[in-house]
């Protein structure tokens, strides 16, 4: 009996509340704004709005902190991506610079080849001498390209050396700075003859020059054509220092090579006339 009364009471409470909310809801739907909070609602809102605003500001601040952290994370990722991009671009720039430099050198070599009255083949350095005593280079042209032993090797700047070994696909070039090298030369202005020998380490020494010869620092030294290896008139270098010793019949000089012997990359090998 008690349980039944409780159940009825429960249902009654529910129905009362349900009716209340239905009336409230229907009254709301009749208004233009579909919302009429009334004086109680307004009072409640007046009390709660400052709290809501305060909590909203707290959430805003927390959201700002979170956004900052998220931004830092994003920036780190972006930074890493940009660093990689910069590295790639730097690599690309270096490659392009290298290509541009190579193209410039080859262009000059081609121009020089046009000016030469000899047949020539362009060669690229593919090996350098590892020993300190000898200064030779290996180039990527050999007997298949018409290269012969003792063929002169030149650049637009000046004489490089001569071929001392030939294989079908590569050759070894003895630089004029090698101590085994000797080239017959003339002082271009005075036409005095001498011999340029290598001293190793990129230095050249002019010997057997008459004491009467009028030479000055800066004078151009060219091949004399004597000796049968180098044709006449190729630039060897410039007089860097004149050495006149008392009582000697001959005078000597240090010669600065015209070709940059330590930075050679491309060169021309003069081929024998057909």
């Amino acid at each position: 009996m008690g349980e039944l009364l409780l159940a009825r009471r429960r249902i009654a409470i529910f129905l009362v509340l349900f009716l209340f909310v239905l009336v409230l809801l229907s009254s709301q739907t009749r208004t233009a704004d579909r919302r009429q909070v009334g004086p109680v609602g307004t009072a409640l809102l007046t009390a709660l709005m400052p709290l809501q605003a305060g909590m909203f500001r707290v959430a805003d601040a927390a959201s700002g902190v979170w956004d900052t952290f998220a931004e830092i994370g994003r920036l780190r990722v972006e930074n890493a991506r940009l660093r990689t991009q910069v590295e790639n671009l730097n690599r690309e720039v270096a490659e392009l610079r290298e290509q541009a430099s190579s193209a410039e050198r080859l262009e000059r070599l081609l121009e020089f080849r046009r000016q030469l009255s000899y047949q020539a083949t362009a060669a690229r350095v593919i090996g350098r001498d590892a020993s300190r005593w000898f200064t030779t280079l290996v180039v990527d042209r050999g007997s298949r390209d018409g290269v012969r032993r003792n063929a002169p090797v030149v650049t637009p700047e000046g004489v490089v050396g001569r071929v001392i070994e030939v294989t079908p696909m590569a050759s070894r070039v003895l630089l004029i700075s090698d101590s085994r090298s000797a080239v017959g030369v003339l002082i271009q202005q005075s036409r005095d003859a001498g011999v340029v020998e290598g001293l190793g380490g990129g230095r050249l020494h002019l010997k057997y020059l008459s004491r009467a010869a009028r030479i000055n620092e800066g004078d151009l030294v060219v091949t004399s054509g004597l000796g049968g290896v180098f044709p006449r008139g190729l630039v060897v270098g410039r007089i860097a220092n004149v050495i006149r010793e008392e009582g000697e019949l001959l005078q000597e000089a240090e010669v600065e090579p015209a070709a940059q012997l330590d930075r050679l990359e491309e060169m021309l090998i003069l081929l024998p006339r057909q």
């Binding site: 429960r10 409470i13 529910f14 909310v21 409230l24 809801l25 739907t29 409640l44």
Partner: protein, 164 residues
């Protein structure tokens, strides 16, 4: 009287958290609603009439704070609070999954009720029914927080019932 004050404070706090904080964190368009698990918890622990009363108060507060017409959420939470009190009587009350399951079912029921109320009252624009995915997301969010709120309500009831 103290029970009214405590539950009023709890509902106001939950309602403010809902509109000020939880409304900013939507998942699949759903926002966690802590008021519904409270109504369910009171219904389970105190009976259907208490569940209905707390549900109505929670719903009206939600309507007041959210800017919609008064009564939509009040009606829905009233029914959910009452129903949870009625149906849970026959289930073993100490089951730890009960609050989450009841809240999940209550939320889905509430979403259906919302759609019906929207159609009947012509308030579909304000109280439009959400998609099925959103309804399930809402149910999952509410049931995730339900065990904690249930424990809180249980603690409140324990303290209020404790002889002084």
């Amino acid at each position: 009287m103290s029970r009214v004050l405590v539950y009023s404070g709890l509902l106001v706090a939950a309602g403010l958290v809902h509109v000020a904080w939880l409304a900013r964190m939507q998942i699949s368009g759903a926002i966690m609603d802590p008021l519904l698990p409270i109504a369910v918890a009171v219904g389970i622990l105190r009976g259907a009439e208490y569940g209905a009363a707390v549900g109505l108060a929670a719903g009206l507060l939600q309507d007041l704070l959210s800017g919609g017409p008064l009564g939509v959420n009040g009606l829905i939470k009233l029914v959910i609070g009452f129903a949870s009190g009625l149906f849970v009587r026959s289930i073993y009350i100490e089951n730890p999954l009960l609050p989450a399951v009841a809240t999940f079912a209550g939320t889905l029921f509430g979403e259906i009720l919302l759609a019906v109320v929207g159609q009947v009252t012509g308030l579909a624009a304000e109280a439009s029914s959400v998609g099925i995915l959103r309804a399930f997301a809402q149910a999952a969010l509410n049931s995730a927080v339900a065990p904690f709120l249930f424990r809180g309500v249980k603690q409140i009831e324990f303290r209020l019932e404790r002889p002084r």
